[in-house]
Amino acid sequence: MLLESLKVGWILTIFILLFLWFPGRLFSRRVNRGTSLGIAGNWTRMVLFAVIGIFILSKLRVLTALAIGFILLIAFALVYLYRIDWKFGALNSKVQRTVVQFVRNLETSSFKLSSLRSNAAASDSAEEQRFSQRWPELLKERGIPILCVLAAVTIAAILRYADAWSELRFNHVEQYDYLLRARELILNVHPTGRPFVFPSLIATTSLVSAVDPIYVTRFLSALIGVLLVLALGAFLQASMRVSLASAVAMYCLGSAAFPPAAEPTLVPTSLVQKIFELFALSSPATTQGSSEFELGLVFVLLGLAFVAEWHWTPHKDSLVDIACSVILTGLISPFLLVLFAIAAVMLLFRPKLAPVGFVLFGFEAAVYARLSPGTSITNDVFMTLPVAAAIAAGWFLAVVITMIRSDLGRRAEPLLLASCLLVAAIWFRPHRLVSQPLEYDSAARQTQDIANKFAAQKWVVVAPVEQFPETLGFGGYEDLADFVSKNRSQVASRDFHFASTAQDLFIYVEKKPFQVFDREPLSVPFAVLTDATYRSYRSPAGRASLESDALQLCESYRQNHSDMEVYFKDENLQIYRVHRDDALKAAAQEARAE
């Protein structure tokens, strides 16, 4: 647990340093430097730089921690030189003075660190004074909304990190894609292709923090969810300027306040059933977009917030931030780009109606997609529904506040806050987010254990498809279904040896086959039904059959050969290990050559 805490702390620290602190230094001359939108703008720009940088470096096959460190160093140097107006002579003199002072201190054995800090302190003191003066005023004026926002964000963080903290395995199938893409980027193979933005963030953070991408994927996925909640708040605040409404919307999204849909017993066929199903999908407890899509939503919401800010206070920095948001949104999903465009146009004309436009477009597109089978509208439209629902709740509350403020004055917000708290406590309590793991946690942990213990590229894992992204770059992988079908008829023979030339072969066998679904789904498209991955690993019956064959294969081999042992065993999973010494390896290689 302590190690996990240290890992998550380190990953988040590196992420904050790379994507929040560093761009703060890089873009120190922007107008709204200390504000939340200024920080968000810096973050957006930095993400775009990272994505472009990762693409170029990976394409050139020079992406390593060294290259990233080198680029960061050059960027720091350029920023510093820009600050001193490119006066190299002044820099030279400063370096010489520092060296002389150091040698002087070395000789007298007195290191006065305060003198080193004094320069930095002098330059930052004015900034810190402004910063320290602003926060008490802010708390005094808007303490309650700030507390509400903090509470909403905290609940969102707890819900999202609950699973990430306790389990190494992923909760969603897309996370394996991100892990695979991130590993491919780090290994400089297949640099192009989607998804790209989120894997770029994973790759960058993983390289700099020196933590395996599987941990980074796990914790950054949760962080993206929290950032989505924050982006929602930023958008609503920038467009409607009602803090409480923003906080309520953030709570609705972050805590999955809308009740989850009940398990469907029949496929919806009538119009009412389909529309009812859509509303049920509006809860994050039922529908959760992939991390890449959520990141896209973050950029859409932030982009709209920048547009709103530009509308209220035009300046160049907002335009740059908008451009960065648009590019990133376009890289992630064309649908989101359309959504952004529509909401942005509304925002430019009537900022307070932009949330309405977002909600209407989101739901209308979802209704059209649901009622028109074979339509070209992507399924991504359904992933926007939870956000649209939260915006609707926030907008509704903003309207109510505006209406009663004229009568109740300053008591309006506290009264409404009390009412909201009551309603939340009774009807809209936090719900667990949708989660669909694909493997046992012990499988993921043992794979990491093998990668750490055994020398790289000298072992092979034979397991379901989830282990492929977990092993890429460390060792070999072979599909369990292929392995079983290739070898099951021969293992009984004493002369038979597995064809692998690796030193160690690990075969994953589930004593209790993992159930992706509690029962077989009501309807499955034909293309999915014929897919080998679905048949072998997703379908409960298919998986049970495969694991039974695998167990039989391994036990049969173990009876006739002495080079196999049980490497790991628990109530669900058993891992067999075949260890080959050099003689046997050579014999296997010869046999393969023949």
Binding site: L60, R61, V62, T64, A65, L66, A67, V99, V100, V103, R104, L106, E107, L187, N188, A210, A455, A456, Q457, K458, G473
Partner: protein
């Protein structure tokens, strides 16, 4: 120190038969290590007061005439031969052990075979040990040679040991930092990291002691030290049936110990010869250290440049090998051939640059000050000739090395190997020529120009080598060396030509 001001005047006159004014004499007196406090023994309040008095009593012409009568054709040839022998032996002393290792690798490839991970650890630690203490090696060599040349064995001992201690402390600090970074980025597994760190510290100390031996004028001890320690390590391997890895780990420590013993003995011997020098007043360590910092930068940047291509090639290892660092076999073989040619011709370059500087200083002393253009013309002509000799020698050495290794071992001429040899050879050739310019610049107090050129060249070497080795193939790390060497040669040549525009001024500040 000299007892009488007349002796000092004769020393000044021997170096500068013609002086412009009293300030020039003051500068020369201070260059001998005198200051206001020490000249009081002659009865003068300050160095300038002494210089004024010496200028009034400065002899004119007699010494230079006497010197010109003395120097004849045969004696000058003997001087040249002696200088050449000294320089070549001192430079080649470092190369001989490496050449011996190369021969063993080609003739008995299995004798030194180790696991890939251990090989990575050894390569990394060797390269790091050559680069990071490079600055301290230069500082020790400069300070040690200076005080040894001044017949001040106690000061030479004191400064060499102080700089050695500083170097060891820095080395240990860097080793700890390297361990932390290596563990953080999973460069090597735990045990191999410790092996690399220990090897790095031992080798760094060894190179620093070798620098002390060179400064003491007993450079012949260096190959002897290597021979004794290698024999001892081989003996342990054979008679104690130890693994080759243990022998390779022990060798640097044994060599460092032998070198330390040799250095200690020589310090004791030279101090016994001049016991009266024990009372010599030392300069302030801080001042001496600050004055040596440019040499530290020069040494670090130079050695960094020399091995940057190996570092970048090592990082270009494919991920499916399972290693984070490892130099491709064909690349290593190709670069070893041209590096051998470089080391042999670099020894010649050291001699040629010393000879050139002696020619320069001799001309500057002999020719009248009213004819600077003649001095410039002579120097440029000689410079041009030397720049023709260096490539010739390098090419011959490279061809011989290629022929020898082709006959001996498995130097299969694959396209990758040929590309490596071609690019590496061009790079080392240009580096040799740049080395000549660099030594001249250093000796005429234009060290900053040399350091700047090397730093720019190093940046080009690293960026081009790293990028191209990853994009196109590991052999293109040598392209980085070639491009960097071209930049260094261009910048150093421009600096040298700038210096040669005013050779008389440079002579006076040298």
């Amino acid at each position: 120190m000299t007892r009488d001001w007349n002796d000092l005047l004769n020393d000044v006159h021997a170096i500068a038969p013609q002086v412009a004014d009293a300030e020039e004499i003051a500068a020369l007196v201070e260059s001998f290590g005198y200051n206001d406090r020490s000249v009081r023994q002659f009865g003068f309040a300050s160095v300038f007061a002494l210089a004024e008095h010496m200028y009034l009593n400065f002899p004119t012409g007699a010494l230079s005439q006497k010197k010109s009568v003395e120097s004849g054709k045969w004696s000058s040839i003997w001087v040249e031969i002696g200088s050449a022998a000294r320089k070549l032996s001192a430079s080649l002393a470092y190369s001989i052990p490496w050449m011996a290792l190369l021969v063993v690798e080609y003739v008995r490839p299995h004798a030194l075979q180790v696991s890939p991970e251990f090989g990575s650890a050894l390569s990394l630690s060797l390269i790091a040990s050559l680069v990071t203490p490079g600055g301290f090696i230069q500082m020790i060599a400069r300070a040690g040679s200076f005080y040894s040349g001044m017949q001040e064995p106690f000061l030479a001992h004191r400064f060499s040991i102080l700089l050695l201690k500083l170097g060891v402390a820095t080395t240990i600090l860097l080793a700890v930092l390297g361990l932390m970074l290596g563990a953080y980025f999973h460069v090597l597994s735990g045990a191999y990291l410790l092996v690399a760190a220990a090897n790095y510290i031992a080798l760094s100390i060894l190179w620093m002691f070798c620098a002390i031996l060179g400064a003491q004028g007993i450079g012949w001890c260096v190959p002897l030290t290597f021979l004794i320690s290698a024999t001892a390590a081989a003996g342990i391997k054979i008679f104690a049936h130890a693994d080759i890895t243990l022998a390779l780990m022990l060798w640097p420590a044994l060599a460092a110990f032998c070198a330390a013993v040799c250095a200690r003995i020589e310090f004791w011997r030279s101090e016994r010869k001049r016991p009266q020098r024990s009372a010599s007043a030392p300069p302030r360590f801080r001042v001496a250290l600050i004055s040596l910092i440019p040499f530290y930068l020069y040494g670090t940047v130079y050695f960094g440049f020399l091995f940057a291509d190996r570092l970048t090639a090592g990082t270009a290892i494919p991920w499916f090998s399972g290693l984070s660092f490892g130099i491709d076999g064909a690349y290593k073989r190709g670069m070893d051939v041209v590096l051998l040619a470089f080391l042999i011709s670099a020894a010649l370059v050291e001699y040629l640059s010393e000879s050139y500087l002696r020619y320069w200083f001799h001309l500057a002393a002999e020719l009248p000050q009213s004819k600077p253009a003649e001095l410039v013309a002579h120097l440029r002509k000689r410079h041009f000739k030397i720049m023709l000799v260096i490539p010739g020698v390098f090419i011959i050495a490279a061809l011989v090395a290629w022929f020898v290794f082709n006959r001996w071992g498995s130097l299969a001429a694959s396209p990758q190997l040929l590309e490596t040899v071609a690019m590496g050879g061009a790079g080392y050739l240009m580096l040799n020529m740049a080395l000549f310019e660099t030594i001249v610049l250093v000796c005429v107090n234009a060290l900053n120009m040399a350091v700047r050129s090397l730093a720019i060249g190093l940046a080009v070497n690293v960026i081009a080598g790293y990028g191209l080795s990853h994009i196109l193939g590991v052999q293109y790390a040598a392209f980085g060396l070639m491009a960097g060497a071209a930049v260094v040669l261009w910048k150093c040549n421009a600096a040298a030509r700038q210096v040669l525009r005013h050779p008389d001024y440079r002579y006076s500040v040298a």
